[in-house]
């Protein structure tokens, strides 16, 4: 809300420096967004919180300021307006508590006798309100001053009497700004005998608005219940000065006085025939709220030791009056402009506001303890740190991306879309972290990087019962022509697999299996799916070349993605004391069919040598010279040991022979 500095100083009848005025207002919760120079004056742009509808006017701001500074404030300038003619339309309030009070006046034979005042024009311009018609300008000016929105109709276009009612089925209204609204049954309207003439409390109808040609005018000033205005304008995608005020709540005792204030200004500038102010109220007219509170309540919540008199006087400055006292129970009456006060905590905040938050005590409290529980957050951070130790830099990407990207990769199935995206490139929640990492790669290649090793820990989304999955994904890209003079690292599938094996080992995750990948995004013969027992938990390999282009790239990269939620959170493992007896080792080299996997060989070893086996370490795989076609040579070292004794030569020979014969029988392997 933009307000002129001079209008505030007029209302508070004092002239504090603008900086100190703004500082004080900030300290009572009225935030200043910006101060700008304007025609030798200053515009202060306030950022009002939605609870403080009462501050949505010059007088409202001034009232709160004066309460804080303990200065007298006189709110409404009661004008002694008397009409000449009789208001001759009937006003029917059919909407019960949605509009329990309505005032109207009619004006005819309007003739300008004085120059239209500059201060009104200046005030409107500062507030960013367009000048439309002198009478509209005047009611808008009074709205800015007092907070009461009013509306001016072309009286000749109104047919018959006026009614305030809810919209009928399929009723429409064209509002100012040419927008045609299809009203629903919960929309309040002002209507004549034929049709709605205004969207109540929000906007006037275009067909009944004033123009230069208008001869006779009708001004409306009413109280509309905030609950009925709330959200209605937003539903149709707009806001007006009126709707913003009414949905936060406009003083229910203000509408008649504000209208008279406007009429007083009109009378000053114009010669006109003005009717009496016709005010209709029904039995639903609101009553002032009361709140019961004790002094103990206040001090318990604020940690203070305030006396009853202090609290009473603070609330009194805010026009919150003590109306009843029963032992410790004090009953306060809330003024008609404060819609935000309804429970005792609200009054406690008022006391705190005026005392000043910075003057409230600071109290140590270490007595609150709860049962300790290990947080999953630690696990996630440990994984992140593990990845950085392996040379990966952490990236953080938006959770949403262009649906087209998912379609290009054929992973748009079960995706969740945003109904109101900022733009189409942020329209769909990602179903995998792959596209995000690929985008990071493209970005960095374009900035001259030829090596990239990044990871992200973030959610992927799927339209199922879970909806979101925490994933860890990583990417390695290597196109460096000149490596470090002494580095000879080969970034291939086994490099990335080694990192993941390390990761699983670090977190004591066992029963991990690697199978040829079924994931279409990856190289069909050089990628793996990762299983924990028999549950698919991730995938690793190089990207399938057919997707490289659609990811905006021209060279393959290595990639993995695993579901962090599926990983067990293991506690510290058991540490085993190593055997004091020596370990025996034998090296073997077999020629074997090329299609036999290492997993098969390892299984075969475990089945063949059942006693004393500690482990197998593979040290060579070779399928070139001196090896028959379709075969490979595989060499490994096997270790045996016992915790009870030193193994004899015979015992080891027996196990070694079992392996040789097992390898031959089960896998057709020949010892070289």
């Amino acid at each position: 809300m933009k307000v002129l500095y001079s209008n505030i100083t007029k209302a508070i009848k004092a002239k504090p420096k603008i900086e100190s005025l703004c500082y004080d207002l900030t300290l009572i919760g009225i935030e200043v967004d910006e101060i700008k120079s304007f025609q030798g004056d200053k515009i202060i742009d306030f950022d009002l919180t939605p609870n403080r509808g009462d501050c949505f006017s010059v007088k409202g701001l001034a009232r709160d300021y004066c309460a804080y500074k303990d200065k007298k404030f006189s709110s409404v300038t009661k004008s002694s307006f008397k009409g000449k003619t009789k208001f001759n339309k009937k006003i029917n309030l059919f909407a019960k508590d949605a509009c329990p009070a309505y005032s109207a006046v009619s004006i005819t034979n309007l003739k300008l006798i004085k120059k239209f005042p500059d201060y009104i024009k200046k005030t409107l311009k500062a507030a960013g309100i367009q000048s439309i018609h002198p009478l509209v300008d005047i009611v808008n000016f009074v709205m800015l001053e007092s907070g009461q929105p009013m509306h001016v109709f072309d009286q000749d276009k109104i047919e018959g009497d006026i009614e305030v009612r809810f919209a009928k089925t399929k009723e429409q209204i064209k509002i100012l700004g040419e927008k045609n609204l299809k009203l629903s049954r919960d929309c309040l309207v002002i209507a004549d005998e034929k049709e709605p003439i205004a969207f109540a409390g929000i906007s006037g109808g275009l067909n009944h608005s004033v123009s230069k040609k208008t001869q006779n005018f009708l001004i409306e000033s009413a109280f509309f219940s905030p609950s009925i205005i709330k959200g209605k304008a937003r539903r149709y995608g707009f806001q007006t000065d009126a709707s913003q005020r009414f949905e936060r709540g406009v003083d229910f005792n203000l509408h008649e006085d504000a209208l008279k204030e406007a009429l007083a200004i009109i009378q000053e500038i114009y010669q006109a025939d003005i009717s009496n102010v016709e005010t209709i109220k029904n039995k639903h007219f609101p009553k002032k709220k009361v709140i019961n509170i004790s002094i103990k309540d206040v001090n318990l919540k604020l940690g203070t030791d305030l006396k009853e008199n202090t609290i009473k006087s603070i609330l009194n400055r805010l026009e919150i009056k003590l109306i009843k006292k029963n032992k410790n129970n004090l009953t306060f009456e809330v003024p008609s402009h404060r819609f935000d006060l309804s429970i005792k905590e609200d009054l406690i905040e008022e006391v705190a506001r005026i005392v000043g938050y910075d003057n409230l005590p600071q109290i140590k409290n270490d007595s609150i303890t709860q049962h300790y529980e290990k947080s999953d957050y630690d696990f996630i951070n440990q994984i992140k740190t593990f990845m950085t130790n392996k040379g990966f830099n952490e990236v953080i990407n938006y959770s949403f991306l262009d649906r087209q990207v998912l379609e290009n990769l054929d992973i748009e199935n079960k995706s969740i879309s945003i109904k109101n995206p900022l733009n189409h490139s942020l329209s769909t929640l990602r179903t995998s972290l792959l596209p995000s990492l690929a985008t990071n790669l493209e970005f960095n290649i374009n900035r001259g990087q030829n090596f990239l090793s990044i990871f992200e820990m973030g959610k992927s989304f799927s339209n199922d019962t879970h909806m979101e999955y925490l994933n860890l994904a990583g990417l390695i890209y290597d196109d460096e022509k000149f490596k470090n003079w002494n580095t000879n690292q080969n970034y291939d599938f086994y490099y990335l697999k080694g990192i993941l094996e390390n990761l699983f080992a670090e977190f004591r995750i066992e029963k991990i299996f690697w199978k040829k990948s079924q994931n279409d995004l990856l190289h069909p013969y050089a990628s793996a799916d990762i299983y924990l027992k028999n549950k698919l938990i991730g995938t690793v390999g190089s990207i399938n070349p057919r997707f490289i282009k659609s990811l905006g790239l021209n060279k393959a990269f290595l990639y993995f993605e695993i579901k962090v939620e599926s990983l067990p959170r293991n506690d510290l493992g058991k540490l085993i004391a190593p055997s004091i007896y020596p370990i025996s080792q034998r090296d073997f080299s077999f020629e074997i069919d090329n299609k036999v996997s290492y997993e098969q060989i390892e299984n075969c070893i475990h089945i063949s040598s059942k006693n004393f086996l500690i482990g197998t370490k593979i040290f060579d795989v070779y399928d070139g010279k001196n090896i028959s076609d379709g075969k490979k040579s595989i060499a490994f070292r096997i270790s045996w040991g016992s915790s009870k004794k030193t193994l004899s030569e015979e015992e080891i020979n027996k196990e070694a022979n079992l392996i040789i014969s097992g390898m031959q029988k089960k896998l057709g392997a020949i010892l070289r």
């Binding site: 939605p50 970005f443 003079w485």
Partner: protein
């Protein structure tokens, strides 16, 4: 040759040798089959028996001199050989190491960790909640009913499956109270979403939110917790200001500013307040018995202040030159 001349030659010869070959030659020269000492020893039988003991003693001395000279020469030559071979292994110690670069955590992760470390040490549990939320947890349970003007403060992304992307981490408060009851002390970091994008806003950002619930928790406790945190995060001499604000889920509500020492401007860093009784009741506790406080801050803002970042968007550019610093 007389003994003295032989002694002198022996010393001279051993002094001059520089290689193992020369040493071997000396061995032959003195103690070989026809070596000079060997020859002299043979003479002993030609001497009269009277002179034999004294001559034998002299030969003995000569031999032990020879042994001493030989072993020290041998030592000298071995050392020389090692030194020669080591010299062949000479390297340029000024060449760069074959170092594999250490990856870096994202500045937002580091900032979050700094904050959670502080609160964990004060006994807060770190809690997490879903990023896809229902209207109920994101708004209604936080005392923001439908059509409440406060919903305007949250430009919400709605999803085609009827849910929304959480606009704040506050729903975790409700989920935690429902799950754990009271007393409760939690800190919840996480991603949040608002349909807003400019130099200071990104459509996804991170918040961290704390909640304490117990009997008789008051505003003074809240102030103390925040002040201690600011001392920790920004330093002991930081100027702090609390001012009234509005959040539907707290009453009284406050905004906390710190003074930027350079510009002398107040910088808003967090919102906080005493938990609104409606929120406590809706989450299933009795607000007559329990009270609490909550606070929340934007992690990007905290990172921006710690790292002196100009443009918030650089935190999401994922430029490796920025991240690997």
């Amino acid at each position: 040759m007389d003994l003295d001349a032989l002694k002198a030659n022996l010393k001279k010869d051993f002094q001059q040798i520089v290689s193992q070959e020369e040493l071997n030659q000396l061995k032959v020269k003195y103690l070989g089959k026809k070596g000079q000492i060997t020859e002299l020893s043979k003479n002993i039988k030609n001497l009269p028996s009277k002179e034999r003991p004294s001559f034998g003693k002299k030969i003995g001395e000569l031999r032990s001199l020879y042994e001493d000279l030989l072993s020290s020469a041998q030592e000298k030559i071995e050392l020389q050989i090692i030194n020669e071979s080591l010299e062949k292994e000479r390297i340029d110690v000024t060449l760069p190491g074959s170092f594999k670069s250490q990856g870096k955590l994202h500045p937002l992760t580091i900032t979050t960790k700094k904050i959670t470390d502080f609160f964990s040490s004060k006994g807060y549990l770190i809690e997490d909640g879903p990023e896809i939320e229902s209207d109920y947890y994101n708004f209604d349970a936080l005392n923001i009913p439908k059509d409440h003007p406060a919903r305007d403060m949250h430009d919400t992304f709605y999803l085609d499956n009827g849910n929304l992307l959480r606009t704040h981490t506050s729903p975790v408060q409700i989920r935690s109270i429902e799950k754990r009851g009271a007393p409760l002390k939690i800190i919840c970091p996480g991603k949040v979403y608002r349909s807003d994008a400019d130099k200071t806003h990104t459509p996804m950002f991170h918040q961290i939110e704390g909640l304490v619930i117990d009997e008789n928790v008051n505003f003074g406790h809240l102030k103390n917790e925040i002040m201690t945190f600011i001392d920790f995060f920004f330093g002991l001499d930081t100027k702090v200001r609390f001012r009234p604000s509005y959040f539907p889920f707290t009453e009284p509500s406050a905004e906390v500013d710190i003074m930027d020492n350079k510009s002398k401007n107040w910088l808003e860093i967090m919102g906080c307040g005493l938990v609104h009784p409606n929120v406590i009741d809706m989450a299933g506790l009795d607000s007559k018995k329990f009270s609490g406080f909550a606070f929340g801050m934007g992690i990007e803002r905290m990172a921006k202040l710690s790292y002196k970042i100009e443009d918030m968007r650089s935190l999401f550019s994922n430029d490796i030159k920025f991240l690997s610093q």
